[in-house]
Symmetry: C2
Subunit: 344 residues, 2 copies
Amino acid sequence: MEVRNRYVATRRHIEGAPTEADFEVREETARWTPDSGEVLVRNLYLSIDPYQLNRMKRSSASHLAVDGILPGQRIAAYAAGEVVASASPEYATGDVVAGVLGWEDYTLFRPSPAVLMSKVDATAGGGFPLSHHISVLGTSGMTAYGGLFEVCKPARGEKVFVSAASGSVGSLAGQFAKLAGCYVVGCAGTKAKVDLLKDKLGSDDAFNYKEEPDLKSALKRCFPEGIDIYFENVGGEMLEAALANMNLHGRVALSGVISEYTGGGRRAAPDLLEVIYKRITIRGFFAWDFLPRFAEFNAAIGEWVRQGKVQVLEDVSDGLESVASAFAALFSGQNVGKKLVKLA
Amino acid sequence: MEVRNRYVATRRHIEGAPTEADFEVREETARWTPDSGEVLVRNLYLSIDPYQLNRMKRSSASHLAVDGILPGQRIAAYAAGEVVASASPEYATGDVVAGVLGWEDYTLFRPSPAVLMSKVDATAGGGFPLSHHISVLGTSGMTAYGGLFEVCKPARGEKVFVSAASGSVGSLAGQFAKLAGCYVVGCAGTKAKVDLLKDKLGSDDAFNYKEEPDLKSALKRCFPEGIDIYFENVGGEMLEAALANMNLHGRVALSGVISEYTGGGRRAAPDLLEVIYKRITIRGFFAWDFLPRFAEFNAAIGEWVRQGKVQVLEDVSDGLESVASAFAALFSGQNVGKKLVKLA
């Protein structure tokens, strides 16, 4: 079987903030044969995540863990789709799957334990909107759940700060922390997002960092008793301010540092005496670390979603042509919740 | 009993590099009475440690954990001395003790579980030179032992980098790491220190950071297989370079950041993507964290010293008048090993 496949590619390595002009839609013919061992998936929802920008750089520490993206080539990405042809006994035509596919109409994959791929009906008991499988039940949920419960190990009553708190991971981390019995404050970059945090996501408090002349003072106001846990998505000044407000034995889960991805903001240069004397632990992690526990995490998360205890924020654009603009918009904070692109 | 007590005090808060002129020797009368519950100690060896500089600042994160030092007042410090009068059943005249005393001729203390004080004969089986009780068997040993074994948890064959490796803590951390079966590289600021590391302290390699145009390249050369553990005493550029050379699941024990104490060097602004994608853990700690295990740590360390497996480097100045210059010299790297002042 041959299908005409359109895929999004970068035109060049991207070192600063991405723009639509950095991308193009290319075409190729994807060939599937019955003896290939491969599965051909028609993609239905694509996950649009900030970390992909690091892969697009000429060099980045992210390349140590995730392949760099070469200009002109297809871009592997988490997505959900429908199997249209299978040369694997594990998958049948019509199966709906979620896992590592690509920013493209069709993806061929070869099943292996090393490939993250699951059948949607089997995930967390099934019955969820397809989009959920690449947001709350995908890597965003895994990052938030693993980062909070495995890295931070929150105790009831602890004070948790979440930055980029209306984003794909932050919106879940904050809600999970509330479910763990914590006091939760989030920050975001617009009044609408701050209202959302307080009114819909259950944050005890929230602030718009763009309206705060001094982030340290803002955090002091929101955390009169100090911060025990910082779920870090931002980097730069925000990390410095959070460390300055942390309590003894504070924990920082370093999930992302979006303000540092584009090279536009300055890097965090925290007062390391804070880290020493408060005996703070800063730990980097990412979603793949929790792969062996994907089903377990998703069972817990799925139950919360089913019970209405976790609100799922999805921000959906339409069509493969919108991938570039959707991706670029992440870095100016235009998304609310998980950014997805729905294919026709 | 009344004794004329001379003590070292700061003349003002110190915000940059300290100089002798920042200090003065003052006098007071110390009064001990038989019903005071107090113990009067004549100090014999004083510990001179870089962290004291943070206490001398007007404000510092260190004040959260250790009291700030006010100009004109006596300065609490680890020291060893002889009991000359005791109103406590726990201590007798003639007992030799080590613990928190002060930069002064005599110190009065009131025994309590919260005060770190031990009788020298009972420490690690006894039989050590008195000076060892405030170096290898004091807070320096505790910091090195706890930081390495509790914070870093080294496995045999792991690659360990120690900065300020000929200093009080670094010289021990590196030797302890060798005893744990690790590959150890240290850095220091003179050729003599580098030779000492290689010839006397058993480092597998060592380099003079002042002669390296690029610290990242120096570490790349010394650690072709990357760094698993960084025992951090320096901060600034050194931390950035170490993180750039770390392996997956690397650990940084943040023991001190002497290059940042004086405000002269720039703060570390590490590439946090390194921390995320290598899943690095950076943890601050200090000696007091291990107080409950002081006797256990000292038993292990003392045995190594007795067997000649750990070399003890002590750099001794004479007389209370030399405290200020000895302290100031720490920040220009003039000491080798633990800096002590011996009183007459």
